[in-house]
């Protein structure tokens, strides 16, 4: 934890407060071994923060796949084209 704090411009107490908030929100986990407290990122929960756009992209990609499949496999729709 002190290693992380050293790289930040915040003071150690302020840094600890921020980490506590992140821990309460489930974004990190901390565990104390002797005098050393280690932080671990909770990747799954972090991903929720920016994954909404990826989720929308998947929806639209798959929708485009289905449109593509629909127009290229429906003979009726291309026949109409020539009529």
């Amino acid at each position: 934890m002190t290693v992380l704090a050293e790289q930040s411009t915040m003071t150690l107490p302020s840094f600890m407060k921020h980490l506590a908030v992140l821990e309460r929100g489930g974004l990190i986990r901390t565990a104390k071994t002797g005098r050393v407290r280690r932080c671990e990122l909770n990747r799954e929960r972090l991903d929720l923060l920016d994954d909404w756009l990826a989720e929308q992209r998947r929806t639209w990609e798959q929708r485009t796949d289905r449109l593509d499949a629909f127009v290229t496999t429906q003979p009726g729709i291309t026949q109409k084209e020539t009529s």
Partner: protein
């Protein structure tokens, strides 16, 4: 185009532009590809013109349907472009749709191999914010967290 909020899809569809346009604008075709099987999509109201409704419902068993989308066309340029939004419903009432409010712009252009099909989906800041709220964070924590992640992943997190 804001890469944090918007997404684009570009695809060459190997079918004539008029066919792709019809698949999009004829309700009987539209409902066949709009939702992934086995979910059944049913078009309730569909008028491809500026201000026209785009309302669909969906069903898992093909018998009982529930509302899916209540949106509104903003712009329809015959054979070329469709813009619609779910941030305004078919009665032009502002809404907060699930999962996120968006405006989708779909363009159709001729391509030597068929149709150059492009989609731009624009999301508001509110979309990202609602996700933050679900997680119980005030605005601003996302960037703090991202910085922490970068910091932590730059070296082993430890004592």
């Amino acid at each position: 185009m804001n890469p944090d909020l918007d997404l684009t899809i570009e695809r060459v569809i190997r079918a004539p532009r008029a066919s792709v346009w019809r698949a999009w604008t004829e309700p009987a075709s539209f409902e066949k590809w709009w939702l992934p099987a086995p979910t059944v999509c049913r078009v309730e109201r569909f008028e491809a013109r500026a201000g026209g409704p785009l309302v669909t419902s969906m069903s898992e068993d093909g018998v009982s349907f529930q509302p899916h989308m209540d949106a509104c066309f903003l712009l329809v340029e015959d054979g070329e472009r469709i813009v619609f939004t779910n941030a305004i419903d078919s009665a032009w009432r502002p809404t907060s749709p699930s999962p996120v409010p968006m405006t989708a712009e779909i363009t159709f252009a001729d391509h030597p191999e068929g149709t150059d099909y492009r989609v731009i989906v624009r999301h508001g800041d509110a979309a990202a914010r609602s996700v933050h709220e679900k997680l119980g964070f005030a605005a601003g924590w996302g960037s703090v967290t991202a910085q922490l992640a970068a910091l932590a992943e730059g070296r082993n997190v430890g004592a």
